[in-house]
Structures are given as structure tokens and as C-alpha cells.
């Protein structure tokens, strides 16, 4: 007892350190799984955090509007022109849809089975970002109740963000493509025969390699998803910032700057 009294602070520190370390080890072993207690806590926190997150987004929008008025005016004009072009494209698409519908009816008539590709997206707000600046993983305020499942693809207007690592009722956790545990298969938009694999490079960017060491991939090439693996084909990933030949692995390696700004994500689209 005397020992405990004399070394009270050291004992308390050791005890607290041990408890915290047990938390860390247990969460590491469980990986991304959430038990009922964790799920309940996260659900409650998402409800509380979402207004803060939205408030910050609105404040950023307002302050950008005040300080970058000229830039926003110019961007507004460019967007008006883009909308006009897109409206023309919609008309063309509608005609193609009509043709597609006819082909589907024909497939039914001939008893031909085909796999329907999901075109349904759910919008969600980011409620909490990972403060570590390491993963750029985050929590969104939509989950199983909106048809979101694990490995659902997450995108925004700029391109590919990542996939759902955990889906519960009321919230989901997103693991971004720049996380090193998340790899994505790519193809070059200019030459879709050039394919490869990308994953996080530990510097909030992407790095990878092409499957063909002689592939003519160059700096500035736009990379899109190839459709192999978790992600469907055609989603923009990023632009090649550096190409080099690795003599050890005898593979052409690439460094890629993602299109998505992972430090400033607010709204996302999740494929159902």
C-alpha cells in the first residue's frame, strides 16, 4: 500500500496507458468492423456533427464568394456555356436511350439475359474527416437505409473518391483511393489498351505501375478506372505527373495527381 501511495502518479499513468493501448490493439485487430456500441456512438456523433460540417461548408462558400468574385463570375460564364453544350448532348442521349430500350425489348423477346449496370446514385454529406491527414478517410451521413453497401463506389463531380469500407444504418465509412490499403485498376483515356494498378503513395497522392513495361504512358495522361475489380469502368482518377522505369521490378511506374481534392470534400455520390 505504501508503494502505491508513493508511486501514485506512475501507477495511474501506467494504468491509463495500458487501457488506451488495449483500445488501440483491439481496434487494429477488428479492422473496420463496428460492434453495436461503436455503431451507436458513431450514429449519434454523425447526427451531431453533420450541422457543424454543413456550417463550415457554407462559411467557406460565402468567404470564397467575397474574396474571389471575379474568378467566380468568369467561372459562371464558362459553366453557362457548358450547360448549353450538355443540353444538346442530353437530346442525343435521349435518342440513344430510345434505341437502347428497343434493343432491350428485343433481348427480352429473344430470351437473352444481360447484366444491368446500376445507374443509381445516393448523395451524402461528409460528417467527419479523419484528422490525422494520413488516410483522408471520412464518415458520411448515409448508410444501409439508403441502399448503400460495403464496397459501393464513392465519387464526386471531379472523379473517383474511393469505396465504402463500412455501411451501417445512418452512416458509412469511406476509404479513399489515396489510402495505401485501397488499390484501383486504371486505363489510360488516350489509349485504353494501357492498363495498370494504382494505390496510395503515403503523400496524399497515387502511385502505381502499368502491366506492360513497354506501355507508352506519358506525363499528362488522364487515367480512368478500367472496370476490373471493385470500381466500374470510366470514372476519372487523375493525371500522370511522373513516369519512370523501375529496374528492380522491371515495371513502368507512374505517379498520379488525383483530380479530387481530398482535403476539401463535402458532398459525395455513392453508387447503390
Amino acid at each position: 500500500m505504501r508503494f502505491v501511495r508513493e508511486h501514485k502518479k506512475a501507477i495511474i499513468f501506467s494504468l491509463l496507458f495500458f487501457i488506451v493501448f488495449v483500445f488501440i490493439v483491439v481496434s487494429y485487430i477488428n479492422n473496420y468492423k463496428h460492434g453495436p456500441v461503436k455503431a451507436f456512438i458513431t450514429k449519434a456523433l454523425v447526427k451531431v456533427e453533420t450541422p457543424f460540417s454543413k456550417g463550415g461548408y457554407k462559411l467557406r462558400g460565402t468567404s470564397v464568394g467575397i474574396f474571389k468574385f471575379k474568378e467566380i463570375s468568369r467561372e459562371n460564364e464558362e459553366l453557362k456555356e457548358k450547360i448549353q453544350n450538355l443540353e444538346k448532348k442530353i437530346i442525343d442521349e435521349q435518342m440513344s436511350m430510345a434505341e437502347l430500350e428497343e434493343l432491350r425489348e428485343l433481348a427480352k423477346a429473344l430470351n437473352y439475359e444481360y447484366i444491368a449496370v446500376s445507374n443509381y446514385y445516393v448523395t451524402a454529406d461528409v460528417s467527419a474527416m479523419d484528422k490525422s491527414k494520413i488516410f483522408n478517410n471520412f464518415t458520411i451521413n448515409a448508410g444501409k437505409e439508403k441502399g448503400i453497401n460495403e464496397n459501393s463506389v464513392v465519387v464526386n463531380g471531379d472523379g473517383l473518391i474511393g469505396r465504402i469500407s463500412l455501411a451501417e444504418n445512418g452512416y458509412s465509412k469511406v476509404i479513399s483511393v489515396i489510402d495505401e490499403m485501397n488499390s484501383v485498376s486504371f486505363m489510360v483515356q488516350r489509349d485504353m489498351n494501357i492498363i495498370g494498378i494504382l494505390n496510395g503513395n503515403g503523400k496524399a497522392g497515387l502511385q502505381g505501375f502499368t502491366l506492360d513495361a513497354k506501355a507508352e504512358i506519358i506525363k499528362g495522361d488522364v487515367l480512368i478506372t478500367s472496370g476490373m475489380g471493385t470500381y466500374p469502368a470510366g470514372i476519372r482518377i487523375g493525371k500522370v505527373s511522373d513516369v519512370s522505369y523501375n529496374k528492380d521490378t522491371q515495371l513502368k511506374t507512374v505517379e498520379v495527381k488525383p483530380f479530387v481534392n481530398f482535403k476539401k470534400i463535402q458532398k459525395v455520390l455513392v453508387a447503390q
Partner: protein, 168 residues
């Protein structure tokens, strides 16, 4: 500082860290508010309320937005005992002394955080982390100075015998 003031302050700070604070990021870096508030609280108060609140809230923060639960709490513990040791040797009521010590404590927080994740196998490049850390140090210094001075106004120091009011 009384609990009825410290609880809402710490809760708001931890909520802001994962959400609202991203609005004020510089090159993607946000100030480490939980550590800054804990250190400022420890400088101005002798009780352990700041530590207890920070530990509980950091566990919630990690559950919600982290990968490993408990890393923030571990870093909080380390800087608490670091501050406890330095408080005895330095006059932390002087802002010129308090700010460098406070910023050093936030650096220790980031080091513990980074190396804990490294220990558990996360491949995060150290050179990139150092670049981020330089911006973090500058940002933390500015925010810490403001928070420290604000805490000085909020909770009067018990060490000041010459204040007219005894209780606060």
C-alpha cells in the same frame, strides 16, 4: 475552471476538429485544437478535468473519424504528463514561456500520433509528414497564443493572490 464551462468548451472543440475546422485549413493543415485547449487548460488550472474530458472525447473522435481507436487518447496522455513535468520548472503564466512549451507539446502529440500509426504498419512517408508538420507548427503557434490568452481571461489563475475576488 468550473465543469459547467469546461465541458461545453471541450465538447465544441472536439466536434469542430473533425468538421468545421476544415474550413480554415491551410494547405490541408488544420490546427490541433484538442491538444491546444488541453495544454492551455493545464497551464491555467491544477485539476484533472481537462485530461479526463480530453481522454473521453478523443476516444469518441477516434471511433467516429479515425482508423485506430485510442491513438489520440495516447497522445493526449503523453502531453499531459509532459506538461505536468514542465509546469514545475517553468513559469507558464508568462505567455513568452508558455507558447514555446505549448507548441513543443503539440509537436510531441503529432510525433506520438505519427509513430503509433507507423508502428501499426501504416506506410506514411516521413518527409511528407515533416513538410506538413512545419505548416502545423506555425499554425499551432498562432492559435495557441490566442487560446492561451483567452483562457487567461476566462479562468483567473489561483496563483494570483492579489485579485480582488477570491472565488471564480
Amino acid at each position: 475552471m468550473k465543469l459547467r464551462f469546461s465541458i461545453p468548451i471541450f465538447v465544441i472543440v472536439f466536434l469542430m476538429q473533425a468538421t468545421f475546422l476544415n474550413t480554415f485549413s491551410i494547405f490541408g493543415v488544420t490546427p490541433n485544437l484538442p491538444a491546444i485547449f488541453l495544454i492551455s487548460y493545464e497551464f491555467r488550472n491544477k485539476d484533472n478535468n481537462g485530461l479526463i474530458l480530453s481522454l473521453l472525447l478523443s476516444l469518441l473522435l477516434d471511433i467516429n473519424s479515425g482508423f485506430l481507436v485510442g491513438v489520440t487518447a495516447l497522445a493526449i496522455l503523453v502531453i499531459h504528463f509532459f506538461i505536468l513535468g514542465l509546469k514545475e520548472s517553468f513559469n507558464v503564466e508568462n505567455v513568452v514561456v508558455a507558447v514555446p512549451i505549448g507548441v513543443l507539446a503539440t509537436i510531441i502529440f503529432d510525433i506520438v500520433y505519427f509513430f503509433t500509426y507507423k508502428f501499426f504498419g501504416v506506410n506514411y512517408q516521413i518527409i511528407y509528414w515533416v513538410k506538413i508538420e512545419i505548416i502545423q507548427i506555425i499554425y499551432n503557434s498562432l492559435v495557441f497564443t490566442l487560446v492561451y490568452l483567452a483562457f487567461g481571461k476566462l479562468g483567473k489563475s489561483k496563483k494570483d493572490r492579489y485579485r480582488a475576488w477570491g472565488k471564480y
